[in-house]
């Protein structure tokens, strides 16, 4: 064999590198610039390619895959429009710290900068919406770049990484270099994962001497791996302290546990938010004091000492000044805290803790998620309660779109385990949930995967019904159809004198027929009394199903902390009127 025959093309080499990175699935969409890669994919059977129907959906599917497995999600798109279509997904993954490697085609190197056909400055466009990106200019750098990209995507605080691949690089020949056998060491990027023992000791002192403590755990615990959730649960049990989760942290602590206060934040529970407001020691593990969590910063938990555990030093003291920062991976930090706690066998102030729990119980007794039920119309909360009733005893994965239904899902579905809940938290991307569900179902073919959707959001990536049909994915789309962009309507009602400007969903499709058009099953339910049967039918069907649940159009999502307000200025229900919002508050998103 002549040497040039033994050498591999860039595209073949890329596929090899992906296989060596344990990639099993690639979500993608072909085009001119990536044809060599598609040709290489055609010639092998180790990597499975899932053909989505829009590049944004490829990234969300990869996110769903990543978040439900803990692995890196992989995306393959063409140059120009393929890459620009992926931008929303990349931004979403960046905001929620989801490990993604996105391969984008590019025009050949000699044409870069020429406004060539389907050329876009992909590294320029994606620089602010990726953790890092690469333009591979020569085939000899390709394999190394791929291995580095996977390392960067999954290590430290995970995130999306783009590799831009000019077509000539994909066609040139070069020998393959396998990934390093030893743990990858990047020359400049060295995230700190092991916590400083001194900080651990200080944290323990603060935790032990707390009188009104609260754990506040976020997506960082999930990203750290399932072990972190186990350890968190163990530590919370050891201490006997209350715990709340962020939207991204749901599932890191079992929701049915007595110590769980529910989600906190803008639509969090009364008890969680007031515990945050009134605590004397706050133990933040893997959360980032996002504005949806803190509300008005100047009034945020005014009397507490704050501990912040985060793998990303830039999250520390960004919004909220903390008293103790512990930089490290949640798993390692929790391990050390548990070790320290067990070694000390500390006597916490049980009297103070009892009084604190008694206080929390009075807040809990307000039953802040209560809603007025109705015999004629289905309340969205009721629909989710019934959904949960029917799925709680089987393994299930929930994704959501964005809006009221998302917040209700966070409130009414209970998560007992990590990696079962995928939602667009940071970016709030309508159209996330359905493709994310596709990714989850690919990773867990036999599991029950449900996208809790709004009728507006679902239309943003509805084309994926075709993907679901092609791969016979039994994804369930559970639409809470209120005929409104409900969350927009709610804000207009509260802040803009009920002027419902452009938030009514005119000319909606017949979702049952729409499902049928794609070979899926469509179900519709109007009546509360028939809901159980509909849900049971949905679960029993081995196909993709759209359930159009016609719900109350006027229902609002409570509790709610209006923008610019503090945790103790929460609206609990429709009868609570928002105080006059400051101009500053009105200007907030």
């Amino acid at each position: 064999m002549k040497p040039e025959e033994s050498a591999t093309t860039g595209a073949d080499l890329l596929v090899k590198a992906l296989i060596d990175e344990d990639v099993e699935v690639v979500f993608g969409y072909p085009g001119g610039a990536v044809l060599p890669i598609y040709d290489s994919l055609f010639k092998q059977n180790r990597l499975r390619h899932i053909l989505v129907r829009h590049e944004q959906a490829a990234v969300h599917a990869a996110e769903g895959y990543a978040r439900s497995t803990g692995k890196v999600g992989v995306v393959l798109v063409t140059s120009g429009p393929g890459a620009t279509n992926a931008v929303t997904g990349l931004t979403d993954a960046l905001m929620d710290s989801i490990p993604i490697v996105c391969l984008t085609g590019q025009v050949p190197t000699h044409l870069i900068g020429n406004d060539a056909f389907q050329e876009a400055d992909t590294t320029g466009i994606t620089r602010p919406c990726t953790k890092h990106n690469y333009l591979v200019k020569a085939v000899d750098a390709l394999a190394r770049t791929v291995h580095e990209a996977f390392y960067v995507a999954r290590s430290g605080r995970p995130g999306p990484v783009v590799i831009d691949l000019p077509k000539d690089v994909l066609m040139n020949k070069h020998d393959y270099t396998a990934p390093p056998k030893v743990a990858f060491e990047h020359k400049s990027y060295r995230p700190q994962t092991k916590p400083d023992p001194k900080k651990i000791a200080q944290a323990l002192e603060m935790i032990i001497h707390a009188k009104r403590p609260v754990f506040y755990a976020g997506g960082g615990v999930i990203n750290s791996g399932p072990k972190a959730s186990k350890l968190l649960t163990q530590l919370v049990h050891l201490t006997g302290y209350p715990i709340t989760n962020t939207l991204m942290g749901l599932g890191s602590f079992p929701a049915s546990d007595k110590q769980f206060l529910g989600m906190l934040g803008m639509h969090g529970t009364y008890e969680a938010n007031l515990a945050m407001h009134g605590c004397d020691v706050m133990i933040n593990i893997g959360a980032r004091f996002d504005d949806r969590i803190t509300g008005n910063l100047t009034m945020f938990s005014p009397g507490s000492k704050k501990i912040h555990v985060d793998i990303d030093p830039s999250s520390i003291n960004k919004n909220v000044r903390v008293d103790l920062a512990v930089v490290g991976d949640a798993t390692l930090v929790l391990e050390e805290l548990i070790k320290g706690w067990k070694a000390k066998q500390p006597k916490v102030d049980q009297k103070a803790l009892k009084a604190w729990w008694a206080q929390i119980e009075t807040w809990r007794a307000r039953d802040c998620l209560a809603y007025k039920s109705d015999k004629q119309t289905i309340k969205p909360q009721f629909a989710l309660e019934r959904l949960y009733h029917h799925i709680k005893n089987r393994d299930h994965y929930i994704t959501t779109e964005v809006g009221q239904h998302q917040m209700w899902a966070a409130q009414f579905l209970k998560f007992e385990q990590p990696n079962r809940w995928m939602t667009s938290g940071g970016l709030g991307t309508m159209g996330y949930g359905f493709p994310a569900a596709v990714g989850v179902q690919i990773a867990h073919p036999d599991a029950l995967v449900i996208d809790v959707a709004g009728e507006a959001s679902i239309l943003m990536n509805i084309q994926e019904l075709s993907t679901v049909a092609q791969y016979r994915l039994p994804v369930k789309i559970f639409i809470l159809n209120n005929q409104y962009m409900g969350m927009v309507r709610q804000w207009q009602e509260l802040l803009h004198g009920s002027r419902y400007s452009e938030s009514y969903m005119e000319s909606l499709p017949d979702f049952v027929k729409l499902a049928e058009a794609f070979g899926a099953k469509g179900l519709r339910c109007h009546e509360p009394s028939k809901l159980d049967d509909t849900i049971k039918e949905m679960i029993a069907l081995p196909h993709p199903v759209i359930v159009d649940v016609v719900v109350d159009q006027k229902e609002n999502c409570f509790p709610m902390i209006p923008s610019g307000a503090a945790h103790n200025e929460m609206l609990l229900g429709p009868d609570d009127k928002a105080g006059k919002l400051s101009d500053e508050g009105m200007a907030l998103v």
Binding site: P128, H132, S188, N317
Partner: protein
């Protein structure tokens, strides 16, 4: 952090891999997050290891400065971030080229002041000089200010380069 927290200028040195797009990453970080850049200089300083050094002068409250440093350190091609303003004594230098066109008394005065500022004449024509002046930004600014009445026509400034005092590397 209250609004009246003092805004202070900090000189930050950043050691980076000299690779395409690195400057765009740094500048994009500042513009994207709304930070100030008062001055920025960059050049390769180690060809063998392909390292560049970026010196940034930026202004902000202590919390913002802390953020800026953490955000810089988080960039994948960044090796080290040092805040020279808080990490012990350091020196700052800037270089400027200053073109002055004048004749007679003004020309003589320009030359005399250049001497006081130890500025070098690096180009001379019958009715013009180009001076090279180095020193602290203040000194450079003062010199440029003095030239304004003496026929200043053009200024080019490098921005600040800085280094800690003593034998330690960045």
């Amino acid at each position: 952090m209250s609004k009246d927290t003092p805004v202070v200028a900090h000189t930050i040195s950043v050691l980076v891999a000299n690779e395409p797009g690195i400057l765009a990453r740094v500048v994009g970080l500042f513009s994207g997050r709304g930070y100030n850049i008062e001055s920025l200089t960059v050049a390769e300083t180690d060809a063998k290891q392909s390292l560049s050094r970026i010196t940034i002068v930026t202004k902000g409250t202590p919390m913002i400065i802390e953020q800026i440093k953490a955000q810089l350190a988080r960039l994948v091609p960044v090796y080290r971030v040092r805040d020279l303003t808080v990490e012990g004594p350091h020196i700052e230098r800037e270089l400027a080229l200053v073109k002055v066109r004048s004749t007679g008394d003004k020309r003589v005065e320009a030359l005399r002041l250049a001497d006081v500022f130890r500025a070098k004449v690096i180009d001379a024509k019958a009715d013009s000089f180009v001076f090279e002046v180095t020193g602290s930004s203040d000194k450079v600014q003062t010199f440029v200010g003095l030239m304004e009445t003496l026929g200043l026509v053009d200024v080019g400034r490098t921005g600040i380069v800085a280094m800690s005092r003593g034998g330690e590397p960045l």
